[in-house]
Subunit: 291 residues, 2 copies
């Protein structure tokens, strides 16, 4: 049977050698969370993508963290741009990418050469993460987004499921017309080199379980042919009862603190040695669909 | 055009803020590597698994690092055990697992309750990794395997593609009769809690691109039915010309040092800001198939 063990407080530790295991699993903690620990995701940031094989995935736009690219993406969605797109690249342990045939003309009303929205001044609400980070002096959360900082600048980080803006060689920054999502071990070397604009919040398996492309970098041999997009819509452009609804765990709650501690200190009956630490990309803020 | 920039020496740095980008990509460096930088993988550690849908994957056993479980796995292979197995679980961003129907009797000549081969005394040849690790005081390599240490004990780590031994609740340690491979962001919390016994070295996409299981923990609804194993064989049990051949980059070579530096310090024309660091699981030792 599972023994009750007192939670010790989370130390801002570098080496976590003496942490007690959590008496509850991360999932137990979410199941027991009060309704008030969850915040609704705004419909204006939710994008529903239906694919030609009748599967779908849904992503959230990273409001505030890439405003020019995200304004572009919203205009592209409303112009029907992504209905011309298809999945063009599936590279194992790296990314799934979708775009339109080369030469397709961008709408005039988007910013054709957006600024490099790769990083920004560190916001005051940057919430430090209590464990080490390999790629940055400090990991953390910006609202519910996985992030990092060098204490001057801050940036979103390339965790599993994050959506980035495909671009050409520097200094190109991409328009938002071609997007990708991370499907493997976080390629954090892309941080600060590409605009991150969102994350997949539903139906990730409809991207990750696809056949890998056979060409260089996992591109499909026959682009723009197999898996197209039937429709791509913002939830806010749907009627109230057609909108899928999602909630995200608030990071300033007791539930979140317990959940994060439990992620780092797994307990019995399965675990015998808690790691006492967790990677920011293994501690992405929980999101749930609400029926 | 790409500018030539002098390589600076790899510092054993904690924060890598001033590293120069590598003038060559990691892949460029591998392409130019001399034949002598590569070592053959022993046929007695290579396992070829052919699946019922005619796809295959090949894995390498972690010689020396889990001797009791690996001896079991070899006996199980030779007894035909895995021809009774099928893929029973595909959990997105976590693992693909294969096993036999519950109640299948294990051969008598395997160790029924192996020791917990989760960690071992730190070997003298532990090669420290020059960048931070989130889960351990020190990451590194044991021969060509991704590993970590607390300076007393050492252990293999749960990177993408690593193969672990499925087990029941502690103190069960698993027999080797049920195995899994990592298909997402490294679940390093499993380190020191499970025996790692190998890694996939070919055909990983034939595991990762499968439909995710719909039951709890990604188990398939109908176990032992869809994707079975046609044959599972050790390369050393095949005739010399039937054996697939693989080479692994030697970690004590200049090529390896340049490759690791280039992984951490990506350069033009795509990258504008090298991260100056890399995660051990993004720096798994290169392996190639030799025709």
């Amino acid at each position: 049977m599972r023994k009750k063990i007192k939670l010790i407080s989370i130390a801002f530790a570098i080496f976590q050698t003496a942490a007690a295991p959590s008496p509850k699993s991360p999932n137990d903690i979410l199941v027991e969370a009060p309704k008030s620990a969850w915040a609704q995701i705004k419909p204006d940031n939710i994008v529903i993508a239906k694919l030609s094989d009748e599967s779908e995935f849904i992503f959230e736009l990273a409001e505030n963290y890439a405003p020019v690219h995200i304004a572009n993406i919203k205009k592209l969605i409303r112009s029907g741009w992504f209905e011309k797109a298809s999945i063009v690249r599936v590279q194992d342990n790296y990314v799934v990418q979708w775009g339109v045939p080369e030469g397709t003309k961008l709408p005039n009303d988007i910013v054709q050469k957006p600024p490099a929205e790769y990083e920004f001044n560190k916001p005051k609400n940057f919430k430090p993460f209590p464990y080490k980070d390999v790629y940055a002096p400090q990991a953390g959360y910006l609202n519910s987004w996985p992030a990092a900082t060098d204490n001057k600048k801050a940036w979103l980080v390339h965790c599993y499921g994050m959506i980035g803006v495909g671009r050409d060689m520097a200094p190109d920054t991409g328009t938002g017309g071609e997007l990708y999502t991370v499907i493997g071990h976080a390629p954090r070397h892309l941080d600060r080199n590409i605009t991150l604009a969102g994350r997949v919040i539903f139906g990730m398996e409809n991207l990750t379980a696809r056949p890998r492309g056979t060409e260089t970098l996992g591109f499909y041999k026959e682009d723009y042919s197999k898996i197209g997009f039937k429709s791509v819509k913002l939830a806010s452009d749907l009627s109230e009862n057609e909108r899928p609804k999602f909630e995200v765990l608030k990071t300033n709650t007791k539930t979140f603190a317990s959940w994060l501690y439990a992620k780092a200190n797994r307990g019995a009956p399965f675990f015998i040695k808690p790691s006492g630490a967790v990677d920011i990309c293994n501690a992405q803020v929980p999101i749930r669909k609400v029926e």
